[in-house]
């Protein structure tokens, strides 16, 4: 942008959203949803949710089974028509510009949909061809991506012969073949062992460094904490909270949590003994959680009351606690 008064030059457009007075509609978001709704017949799977995803951000949907995460991801991915509200992806309307939008996004679906009749490398090549890459370019990217997800030595294997974690890695490689601006990951690491999860997190982190916008769903709060700049907590088709992992913890939980485990049968007999020990008390089937800013002090107070738990653990609050507070349920059931 050229201007006659260099000193008064406006901030570059990408910073415009932060200036006061810019109308909402002018803000640059990669995904923008207002009152977004999905119904299956009469059943409401996503109920009028609002959210924005900014370029370069990594954004998460955290929620239990059936919350509506996949339904939302499918609408963003242009494979599920919206029932109500407004949705724009990359500034375009999924109802009209599906092919254009899909050309610029990468999708890792919740269930692997690899082509069972093709080999590992062929899976990547044909996917590149679906995105109009030349055969040569598709081949080149296939080799790079196999390297990236450490599957080079399995290039000629059939998909069936891969382990679950390898399939997941191949699915992620496949989602990158068109060098997407936006990557949609629906539970990318569910079912993987810790080592495979860390490899994937590392790969996703690198993509984020390269400027790829990530949108992911997960049941795992450690994953959300690791990968998400910002997230929304979804429950029963609604968004119940929004913020960075830190903000959510600060807002909805205490600094520390005291976990008390009692011998079998004792938990049920506890009555008022716990009252007043902490800001908030959650009784889970196997343990009691006491939310307090000073966990050690709460533990001492419990001891003073004559409580003799089997184990005592003081830990920092996590997103799991936020979730419990917001929904009254554990994230992983």
């Amino acid at each position: 942008m050229t201007t006659a008064q260099p000193i008064a030059a406006p901030a570059s457009p990408e910073f415009a959203p932060d200036r006061p007075g810019v109308p909402e509609a002018a803000r640059e978001s990669l995904i923008r949803a207002r009152g977004l709704t999905k119904k299956f017949a009469e059943f409401v799977a996503v109920d009028a949710i609002d959210f924005d995803v900014a370029p370069g951000e990594s954004f998460g949907f955290l929620g239990p089974n059936g919350a509506g995460k996949t339904s939302t991801m499918r609408m963003i991915g242009c494979v599920s028509p919206i029932t109500g509200g407004v949705l724009s992806v990359l500034g375009m309307n999924p109802a009209h510009d599906a092919a254009l939008i899909k050309g610029r996004i990468g999708v890792v679906p919740q269930q692997d949909t690899l082509d069972m009749e093709l080999t590992v490398r062929e899976n990547l090549i044909i996917y590149g061809r679906y995105f109009d890459l030349s055969r040569r370019e598709a081949g080149r990217r296939a080799d790079d991506l196999l390297e990236f997800v450490q599957l080079t030595d399995r290039a000629k294997s059939t998909v069936e012969s891969l382990s679950g974690g390898m399939k997941r890695r191949l699915t992620i490689a496949r989602s990158l073949v068109n060098e997407p601006d936006l990557l949609l990951l629906d539970e990318p690491t569910t079912g993987l062992d810790p080592q495979a999860r860390h490899l994937l997190w590392d790969r996703l982190y690198r993509l984020k460094q390269q400027g790829v916008t990530l949108v992911l769903t997960t049941h795992y709060m450690d994953e959300a904490e690791q990968l998400c700049d910002r997230l929304v907590v979804m429950d029963k088709a609604h968004i119940v909270a929004e913020g960075s992992p830190r903000e959510l913890i600060d807002q909805y939980s205490t600094k520390e949590v005291l976990e008390l485990r009692f011998p079998v049968g004792v938990l049920e007999t506890l009555g008022t003994e716990l009252d007043g020990l902490a800001e908030r008390i959650e009784r889970l089937p196997d343990r009691v959680l006491l939310y307090a800013d000073d966990g050690e002090a709460a533990a001492a107070a419990a001891h003073a009351r004559g409580l003799r738990p089997e184990t005592v653990l003081v830990r920092r609050s996590s997103l799991e606690d936020v979730f419990l507070r917001l929904t009254g349920r554990s994230l992983i059931e």
Binding site: F40, G77, V79, S80, P81, A98, A99, L100, K102, G103, V107, P109, Q111, T113, L114, D115, M116, E117, L118, E122, I125, I126, Y127, R129, Y130, F131, D132, R174, N178
Partner: protein, 265 residues
């Protein structure tokens, strides 16, 4: 691959050729499966055309001339195998990709759309059927079963048959819920194969049965191919062509509607 190169001109299925490419990639390794589709009608031709033909001797052709039974039955077998090949490809293979392998779900996350899938898969069935038809026609020539140069038109006619049955077969497959449901499809195709004048002329049927059989799709296909192979051109052939075009067009339309409903929920 001219047919698929021309598809972009159709506009509504601009990337259908990618589906064909995917199938070629698949069969490049398992081409032996394709070869069996060529031998099946050939075995019928040898067994029935020559075996039964030796018993039957000559038969009266549509124009009253005597022709060998082999020359009579060959176009019928070509039409039947074009039907069977198209049905086979558009039922079992499509069902596996649609319900089990989720191949189309993956494809729909790329710029390809429902119409690309529908047109691409039907085109592939068509290409496969065309290869078989070329092989079968070559055998007919070698065995001296060809009576007229018009037989050259039997090739596009066989392609049209492949298109019509692939489209209808794929449409039917979208309603199939399990492998046993395929029995319903074969309850339809087997009688078509046996009773549609493949092995004997329609004139064996009394009215009104003859009229009823004559409006079934395979009867129209056989009428078309037999007339071309024997050089008996008549305006009725245009009706046959129109019949098959409408059948394929309706099938394709149903496939698009159904896939949309099944895959884009």
């Amino acid at each position: 691959m001219i047919a698929t190169r021309m598809l972009p001109a159709l506009g509504f299925a601009p990337r259908a050729d990618r589906l064909v490419e995917r199938n070629i990639m698949n069969y490049r390794r398992t081409w032996i499966v394709l070869v069996s589709g060529f031998f099946e009608p050939l075995f019928y031709l040898l067994g029935i055309g020559f075996g039964i033909g030796a018993l039957v001797g000559n038969v009266t052709g549509p124009d009253g001339h005597a022709i060998s039974y082999g020359a009579f039955v060959a176009p019928g077998l070509l039409a039947s195998s074009a039907m069977n090949g198209a049905i086979y490809d558009s039922t079992f293979n499509i069902f596996f990709k649609l319900r089990y392998a989720k191949t189309y779900d993956a494809i729909l996350s790329t710029p390809l759309g429902i119409n690309d899938i529908a047109v691409g898969e039907i085109t592939w069935a068509l290409i496969r059927g065309t290869l078989y038809a070329i092989g079968f026609l070559a055998v007919m020539v070698v065995l001296g079963l060809v009576q007229s140069p018009w037989v050259i038109l039997a090739l596009p006619a066989a392609m049209l048959i492949g298109f019509a049955f692939a489209a209808v077969g794929m449409a039917a497959t979208t309603w199939v819920r399990s492998w046993t449901d395929f029995d319903y499809i074969f309850v339809v195709t087997l009688p078509l194969f046996l009773f549609s004048s493949t092995f004997y002329p329609l004139s064996v049927y009394p009215e009104p049965l003859r009229t009823i059989v004559s409006i079934t799709p395979l009867s129209r296909c056989i009428d078309l191919l037999r007339s071309l192979a024997l050089g008996e051109l008549s305006p009725v052939l245009l009706v046959d062509v129109a019949y098959l075009l409408v059948m394929g067009g309706v099938g394709l339309w149903v496939v698009s509607r159904r896939l949309d409903k099944l895959l884009l929920k």
